[in-house]
């Protein structure tokens, strides 16, 4: 996997980045011991969602966009319904809002448990997978699977099934649960809340490489709630905008090495970071009480700028999601109607919601028949790619003299801490390192 020629140009290739969702590669070239080039190559086949959504009826959109990602279908459904409701001038009542947050809690629990334990923890503990890890740490892996299962149960009860839920529609839900159905989750969620605190205790003690770039963090922000479905978009460097302005402030670029578009600040071309670290750094005071207390007591100082500590941010959000789910269930009174009635007319609307991996932006334009004329979807992982490359550029000079296996491992560990979802980002990383 490494090649050296007479000019001491050395190439290292990591064939496939494993324990990430989707397919990508890294290319690193150095010459005379100096880093020359770092590229993240995304070769996940493009599926062209934004193109084939045109001509579809608006109520099909939540079902279709769910298929952008098997791990975070709810995120796509939430961004879609909020954007389409903005286009149609629809405002669901508070009970529907709460149920949507509950659904999102289910997805955060399932996705964060999956990533923390099955995809990311093995890196810190020196295992090639959770399967190997299970031999030495059976309790932890069983706990992970049980946490994931509880998130999935919540999704299935509220959404019909955990992967590609069927109940979400523009205006609300096709079916809302009876109070009893949600109450059946309470015991599990109480267990999950305690297990999440145990998870935070575990991961906050992991050995983290020291690394703290000057990030611009970007997330959704709401005056009263932890960032999830609404409302504005903010950054740690002064951005505070309505979603309407998102495409003016942040730019998608198409680069040759990638079937995923890369995002930067439109004004200065710099990269930015979305995801759990960004959310907590920008919204920490909106965390549920026990999550906030745990975040304060876990030994991390916030805001935290170390990307490797994404796993800690996810653990804090696990606590939050369990706590908020319990609160919503406690307060739940079945609404009179599962969905809002409205007239179909032409319109354009956009929205940003917080997928487990970060800010997910949608914009749609529909015609008088309710058919989609235009769709734009900007996934969180695509927004992070440029920032990931910048991180690699900062880290790699320190390890270029090491073996290519070690360099590959360092790259993969950084990338994995971002919890990338590559199928989403294209409409697994292969590392190719050339050393000179």
């Amino acid at each position: 996997m490494a090649s050296e020629n007479a000019n001491r140009e050395k190439t290292v290739k990591v064939e496939y980045l494993t324990r990430v969702e989707g397919e990508g590669g890294i290319y690193v070239r150095s010459e005379g011991g100096e880093l020359r080039e770092v590229k993240i190559n995304i070769f996940e086949p493009p599926r062209f969602f934004e193109a084939f959504l045109r001509g579809r009826y608006f109520q099909e959109v939540p079902d279709i966009v769910a298929r952008i990602c098997g791990i975070c279908p709810v995120a796509y459904q939430m961004s879609a319904v909020h954007a389409l409701e903005s286009a149609l001038g629809v405002t669901p009542p508070p009970e529907i809002r709460a149920l949507r947050r509950l659904l999102y809690c289910g997805e955060w629990i399932e996705s964060h448990a999956l990533h923390i334990y099955l995809l990311n923890a093995p890196d810190f503990l020196g295992y090639e997978s959770a399967i190997s890890m299970a031999t030495d740490h059976p309790k932890e892996v069983e706990q992970a699977l049980r946490l994931k299962k509880i998130g999935n149960r919540l999704l299935a009860i509220l959404g019909g099934r955990s992967i590609h839920p069927v109940s979400v529609c523009v205006g609300g839900f096709y079916r809302i649960p009876h109070r009893k159905e949600l109450e059946s989750l309470k015991a599990d969620l109480l267990w999950a809340l305690e297990a999440s605190k145990g998870t935070l205790a575990l991961v906050s003690k992991l050995p983290f490489p020291s690394f703290a770039p000057d990030y611009e963090f970007v997330s959704v922000s709401h005056p009263n709630e932890y960032a999830m479905n609404e409302r504005r978009i903010v950054s740690s460097k002064g951005v505070d905008i309505d979603p309407e302005d998102f495409e003016h402030v942040f730019l998608e670029e198409h680069v040759e090495r990638s079937t995923a578009l890369h995002s930067v600040r439109a004004d200065n071309g710099s990269s930015y970071l979305v995801g759990p670290l960004a959310r907590i750094n920008l919204n920490i005071d909106k965390l549920m009480p026990q999550a906030l207390a745990a975040a304060g007591a876990c030994g991390v100082s916030w805001p935290c700028c170390n990307p490797y500590m994404g796993i800690v941010a996810r653990a804090v959000e696990l606590i939050h999601a369990c706590e908020e789910a319990l609160a919503i269930i406690e307060a739940y009174r079945e609404p009179a109607a599962s969905r809002v009635e409205f007239k179909v007319h032409a319109g354009e609307g956009c929205a940003a919601t917080e997928a487990p991996r970060g800010l997910l932006y949608h914009r749609y334009r529909i015609n008088d028949e309710g058919l989609v004329e235009f769709a734009r979807i900007i996934p969180p992982t695509a927004q992070n790619f440029r920032r990931m490359e910048d991180d690699l550029k900062a880290i790699l000079p320190g390890v270029l003299d090491q073996s290519e296996a070690e360099i590959a491992r360092v790259c993969e560990k950084l990338i994995r801490s971002y919890d990338p979802c590559i199928s989403c980002s294209t409409h697994f990383l292969k590392l190719r390192l050339e050393r000179g």
Binding site: P45, R67, G70
Partner: protein, 261 residues
């Protein structure tokens, strides 16, 4: 260290959302026992360690949409004793098969600013268009219990048993009142394979066919009823042409109504 005598399982991904692989990881209770009975030799999403082929069972998710993948599926077929396709992308081309009715060059320009950077095929096609497939598991996503049945059956050397009934049978078993008869909601259930447990009618909406058509569905009869009930032709075409729209029976039904006057 003694060689691993367990059967080798491999999981391959093509053009897809990853949901069917996740369904496998969602076998929460059974996952570790499964990992005990088989060697999970190749599963890039779940593990970094790879054992080379040949593999006893290969699960293939995703459709073929690029020239590289056209080649890669041939290698997968050569390396696998049993090749099992999982999910609508692999069995029917997936939702991304909507490109098959359109001009992919135009699609590429619509999504990517520099289309020359993108290399993709005109069509999204099922795995069976490219190699022989030993077993198909339908669904979008698959039902995780069905995949467990398939793996177990193959390991003990019997044919997997998956029911081929229509969704209607599942509604009857669940006690769900027919949404079409009682509420006039368009429903593809009479033409669609069950496997999902008839979730959509239980959630107050019609089936949208994500488990694909039955072997010999009577689409003319359902179409006539839907049109009689007031469905517009454009909506009827879209009903057929969605997640499994490229599967033969739904494709010809959708095409028929698309062309009809």
């Amino acid at each position: 260290m003694p060689p691993d005598a367990r059967p080798k399982l491999a999981v391959f991904k093509f053009s897809s959302c990853d949901g069917c692989q996740l369904a496998l990881l969602n076998l929460e209770d059974e996952l570790l026992s499964l990992a005990g009975e088989v060697e999970i030799a190749y599963f890039l999403e779940a593990r970094s360690q790879i054992s080379p082929g040949p593999y006893d069972v290969a699960l293939v998710e995703g459709s073929i949409t690029t020239a590289e993948d056209e080649k890669r599926i041939q290698t997968v077929r050569q390396e696998s004793k049993f090749l099992v396709t999982i999910g609508a992308c692999a069995t029917a081309g997936g939702i991304q098969a909507l490109r098959n009715w359109k001009d992919v060059a135009e699609f590429t320009r619509a999504v990517y600013a520099t289309p020359a950077y993108i290399h993709t095929l005109e069509q999204s096609t099922p795995i069976s268009y490219h190699v022989s497939v030993d077993f198909e598991v339908n669904g979008c996503p698959i039902n995780k219990n069905q995949i467990l049945e398939v793996i177990t059956a193959l390991l003990v050397g019997r044919a997997p048993h998956l029911p081929g009934d229509s969704v209607c049978m599942e509604c009857k078993k669940r006690g769900t009142v027919c949404v079409m008869v009682a509420r006039g909601l368009p429903c593809l259930g009479p033409l669609t394979q069950t496997g999902c447990g008839a979730i959509c009618p239980a959630y107050n909406r019609g089936c949208y066919g994500c488990f694909g058509p039955l072997e010999a569905p009577n689409s003319d009869s359902l179409s006539a009823q839907l049109l009689k009930d007031g469905m517009q032709r454009g909506d009827l075409v879209r009903l057929f042409r969605e997640f499994t729209g490229f599967a033969e029976a739904f494709r010809s039904a959708g095409d028929k109504w698309d062309k009809a006057a």
